[in-house]
């Protein structure tokens, strides 16, 4: 008869599962309520009708927070990679990988919501999905970097080596990204607010919309943290199970 028990996970703080759970549960319940309010507000609150934009303006509540979330994920991932290189604690590598993973999910959503929105407002009538907007290109490059990061990771069997070398790549790539901010807007025109002499965001955005948008920023970043935290714990449990299996089976 096999008996199941949850393996003890090392390093992350053995107490994390017991003592933190109540605090985390409260935070997560708050996020759930908060996001429900944001989504309701996003779809139900009356917004000023603008020609062409019409109700697509509601996409603002989803599209823009995706980018802030991607940036938050990017910072968390780079920070955790740096921390791994300094301390050699494998938990930081797991955190860096999961932050990148969730960041990619938000980045893809941001890209898709942006492409859809632009196709039917800015570029309506042209039938174009891709218009070399600097922000679009930057996002695509960042997603490619994370793609390379994951491919690099899959090339190593040794856990320590994988953590170390992919951490180096993560930090190295992060150092080159700021150049895109400077060089891309010079070559490509943008219809985004605040770029190329377009009116700034706060000049053209109705106060009612800000009432939903600002909470949406907080909500989506909190949602990122929730998923990220969940995935980190899952990865830690998986790792512990693997280790247990390694001990249980005699090596051939």
């Amino acid at each position: 008869m096999t008996s199941w028990h949850v393996p003890r996970v090392c390093c992350a703080g053995d107490n994390e599962f017991e003592s933190m759970s109540k605090v985390k549960l409260t935070i997560k319940a708050t996020i759930a309520v908060w996001m429900t309010a944001v989504v309701l507000g996003a779809f139900l609150l009356a917004i000023p009708k603008m020609p062409i934009l019409e109700h697509t303006a509601r996409n603002l509540y989803f599209h823009v927070p995706m980018w802030f979330t991607l940036m938050a994920a990017l910072l968390v991932s780079a920070y955790q990679s740096g921390k791994y290189l300094r301390t050699g604690n494998i938990v930081h590598d797991i955190r860096a990988e999961q932050a990148a993973w969730v960041g990619v999910a938000f980045g893809v959503l941001g890209l898709v919501t942006g492409m859809l929105w632009a196709r039917f407002t800015w570029y309506t009538g042209t039938g174009k999905w891709w218009n070399n907007d600097p922000k679009q290109l930057m996002a695509a490059v960042q997603l490619l970097i994370y793609g390379a990061y994951f491919v690099l990771r899959s090339g190593f069997d040794d856990e320590r080596r994988r953590a170390r070398l992919s951490g180096v790549y993560n930090l190295f790539a992060a150092a080159t990204v700021p150049f895109l901010l400077y060089i891309l807007p010079r070559q490509f025109t943008s219809l985004h607010p605040g770029a190329d002499g377009n009116p700034a965001f706060d000049e053209i955005t109705d106060p009612v919309m800000r009432l939903v948008l600002y909470p949406a920023f907080i909500g989506f970043i909190a949602l990122f943290w929730w998923i990220y935290d969940q995935r980190v714990r899952l990865a830690l449990v998986e790792r512990a199970l693997d280790e247990q299996a390694d001990y249980a089976q005699p090596t051939a």
Partner: protein
């Protein structure tokens, strides 16, 4: 290094770096493997471009892009060798014992810069002849080529050390390098285009500054991160 005459910190570092560079240079001159690979790659892809074009003429913007893509792909085939060769010959441990990590990095960087300079100059000259580009300012074009070589070598040296530790190096190198090289490519293409057109350096000041700062940033980041790769 212990049985060598005592030297002060900096001069020991410089001579250590030079020794690594000299070693690579000698090995290269013996076989000319990397150099021949790069030059033949440039020659054969140029020929493909020319044959594909037929009697057509490219737009200046397309010329600049083709030139830099050519350089980029040539670099992806040739520059990844720097550390892979140590791994293949089994000389990595020896190098680790005999030289400081920063000396190894600087020596390899120096060698890669030299190699990239030769590659970039050869590619640009051959390109301007074969594709019949009218260049307004050779000075500006050479400046872009040199700054581009610095950035290219700076970014790829660390990455080649990374992939040398991986089991599937070759293909991985391009995947890792290209997203990182986007800022370099965009500004180099812009500045090259200007050198084909009116050739006014002040018009592309931002691009030149970006190329310079990019080289500085990637070399600094590589210096900081190299220890983690080398001592793996």
């Amino acid at each position: 290094m212990s049985d060598r005459p005592k030297q002060s910190g900096l001069s020991a570092w410089v001579s250590g770096t030079w020794a690594v560079f000299e070693k690579d240079l000698r090995l290269e001159l013996r076989s000319r493997y990397a150099l021949n690979t790069l030059l033949l790659f440039v020659a054969s892809s140029l020929l493909l471009v020319r044959v594909g074009l037929g009697m057509d003429v490219l737009e200046p913007a397309a010329e600049a892009i083709v030139l830099w893509l050519l350089i980029l792909f040539a670099a992806a085939t040739g520059l990844s060798r720097a550390f892979v060769a140590e791994e293949e010959r089994g000389t990595r441990l020896l190098l680790q014992l005999h030289a400081r990590p920063s000396c190894v990095y600087a020596g390899k960087l120096l060698f890669n810069v030299a190699l990239t300079l030769v590659l970039n100059l050869a590619a640009t000259l051959a390109f301007s002849i074969v594709v019949d580009v009218s260049v307004a300012s050779w000075g500006l074009l050479m400046l872009v080529v040199v700054l581009g070589a610095l950035g290219l070598a700076g970014a790829t040296t660390l990455l080649s050390a990374l992939i040398a530790r991986s089991s599937n190096g070759g293909a991985l190198f391009a995947i890792l390098a290209f997203p990182v090289l986007v800022p370099l490519l965009v500004s180099a293409v812009n500045a090259t285009l200007e050198s084909f057109g009116s050739g006014n350096p002040t018009a592309v000041e931002a691009e030149l500054r970006t190329l310079f700062a990019y080289a500085g940033t990637v070399i600094t980041a590589s210096t900081l991160l190299f220890d983690y790769v080398w001592n793996d």
